[in-house]
């Protein structure tokens, strides 16, 4: 256990010390939340727009941090040879990966807390009555997207391409899924695309909780889709994950 804690601490040190990762992975969704909260006003489904934006931007955080951030971290460490060197130390490989996961989930938790805190302070946001369900949905989403992050890291070939690939996936996905604002006025074709994106299901789960007061266990279909994506990513990782850099 203490070895695990040691590794999580090391991962946290490395994460926050790296200015790029701290800005893009942690700060970007928070800044987008502030930006969108400033430009959007009025109400959505009879509630202040901030009730929409706080949880939605946190779902973008799920995609950006638990999926994108994790994938970039793993690819960069693989290509630098850090993962290979770790394999020669006594630290067990599964513990290393678990610590990496735990560390990125910690970053996501802080990010979600920052968005909620800013919502409370600046935009008069308040926790929905079903808040335990909301938190459970965020955690489930983060774990499933982290599974996809492990899968993506196994498929991305170079550290130069990692950020580009990740952003090309997460930004349009968040936009189409409703992570940046309501999509009910979008053309049918975009909504059809959104229907196959995993983030759509997380946004749907969150909206049911916020607007209908439907707890997460009343939404097994959407939860099932999320879990399936998470499992698929994990299976890809189990098949293709590499500890060593690609041949140069």
């Amino acid at each position: 256990m203490s070895l695990f804690a040691h590794q999580v601490r090391a991962d946290q040190l490395v994460f926050w010390r790296g200015r790029e990762s701290a800005i893009f992975v942690f700060l970007f969704p928070v800044l987008l939340f502030l930006l969108l909260s400033t430009v959007y006003s009025g109400a959505y489904r009879g509630q202040p727009i901030t009730d929409y934006l706080v949880p939605s931007l946190i779902t973008y955080g799920v995609a950006n941090t638990a999926f994108g951030g994790l994938a970039i971290i793993l690819v960069v460490r693989r290509e630098l040879g850090i993962l290979k060197r770790i394999r020669a130390t006594p630290l067990p490989a599964p513990m290393y990966l678990a610590a990496t996961l735990c560390s990125i989930l910690l970053v996501f938790a802080l990010q979600a807390a920052a968005i909620m805190g800013l919502g409370l302070l600046l935009y008069d946001w308040h926790l929905p009555s079903q808040w335990p369900s909301l938190f459970a949905a965020f955690l489930l989403g983060a774990v499933c997207f982290a599974g996809m992050g492990f899968g993506a890291a196994s498929l991305i070939r170079s550290s130069e391409g990692a950020s580009a690939v990740v952003n090309v996936v997460t930004l349009p996905m968040a936009f189409l899924s409703g992570g940046f604002g309501p999509t009910r006025d979008f053309p049918d074709v975009l909504q059809a695309i959104a229907d196959v994106l995993p983030l759509t299901y997380l946004v749907d789960v969150v909206q049911e909780i916020v607007y209908e007061g439907n707890p997460i266990w009343d939404q097994p279909a959407a939860v099932g889709v999320l879990l399936a994506w998470g499992v698929a990513g994990t299976l890809i990782a189990m098949r293709y994950f590499a500890w060593e850099p690609r041949e140069r």
Partner: protein, 282 residues
């Protein structure tokens, strides 16, 4: 005494290419053993099998009495590895990096002691990205030592170094030897093998072509007698230099001639090495 490393009839192929074709060697405890050979001879493949990174196709291998293919944690506790290419987090300091790695071992060395040992005292609190190439390589060595290993694998530790940096690295490796560590070193620099190794195995195309102390490798070689006759350089290679020289000089004295530019030379390790590498081309 038990061998630190025992390799017998080791084989490894990548697809159709046989990288290691049945090699056998033994490294005693506390010995500096060098695998010397050109690029592509199978050095890295061999070392990476011993480090537990690659599986072997055939043969027996033990490191400190254990099979590295089983990747046991007890073995990784006792071995230090310097890889050919591997970096650390650029934004973390030297001391922090060493502390992180020290935490992986049950009985690590003191971090400041390691920093001292690899000569990075002035860079203790500098971020890794500010280090020069040679300093990064010293940090690599520090990371290999921080777990207080019994055996250290160094895969081409000085490739790409300038002469001064190489000499510094050699000093450090001699220091390790003084600590009683067993060291397996790979290099394609002959002088490095000669300077550092107790024993050298020359690897060519996945086979060990010769093995021995640097002195033995030279001793097994022939002596070269050169002189000039009628304006032409003559070279006599012989295993019996005394006899050959006697015959040559007696004849010359009998004819009242001088052997111009007479030179008797033991062939250097470099000559031996180059000859060994050439043999495969014939």
């Amino acid at each position: 005494m038990a061998a630190a490393v025992d390799v017998s009839e080791l084989r490894k192929s990548y697809g159709d290419h046989e990288a290691v074709r049945g090699i056998t060697f033994r490294i005693e405890e506390g010995e500096v053993f060098c695998l010397l050979g050109p690029n592509g001879a199978g050095k890295t493949t061999t070392v990476e099998i011993l480090e537990g990174y690659r599986s072997r196709d055939a043969g027996e291998v033990t490191v400190l009495g254990l099979d590295p293919g089983r990747r046991e944690r007890t073995l990784r506790e006792r071995m230090g590895v310097v890889l050919q290419h591997s970096e650390t987090w650029p934004q973390v300091t030297v001391a922090e990096t060493l502390r992180i790695y020290a935490g992986y071992y049950c009985d690590p060395r003191d971090v400041d002691e390691v920093i001292e040992l690899v000569g990075l005292r002035e860079k203790r609190d500098a971020r890794v990205k500010t280090l020069s190439g040679g300093q990064k390589r010293r940090l690599d060595l520090g990371l290999a030592l921080v777990g207080n290993p019994d055996i250290v694998f160094l895969d081409e530790p000085t490739t790409g170094f300038d002469p001064q940096a190489r000499r510094n690295a050699w000093e450090m490796i001699r220091g390790l030897r003084a600590l009683g560590k067993t060291i397996l070193l790979t290099t394609h620099y002959l002088d490095e093998a000669q300077q550092l190794a107790d024993r050298v195995a020359v690897l060519r195309d996945g086979l060990i072509v010769t093995e021995g102390t640097p002195a033995e490798l030279v001793a097994s070689s022939r002596t070269e007698i050169r002189y000039r006759e009628n304006g032409e350089v003559r070279v006599v290679e012989t295993d019996e230099p005394t006899q050959a020289l006697h015959e040559l000089t007696s004849r010359a004295v009998g004819q009242g001639r001088e052997l111009e530019e007479l030179e008797v030379r033991r062939r250097s390790l470099e000559d031996v090495y180059l000859e060994l590498l050439r043999e495969d081309e014939t």
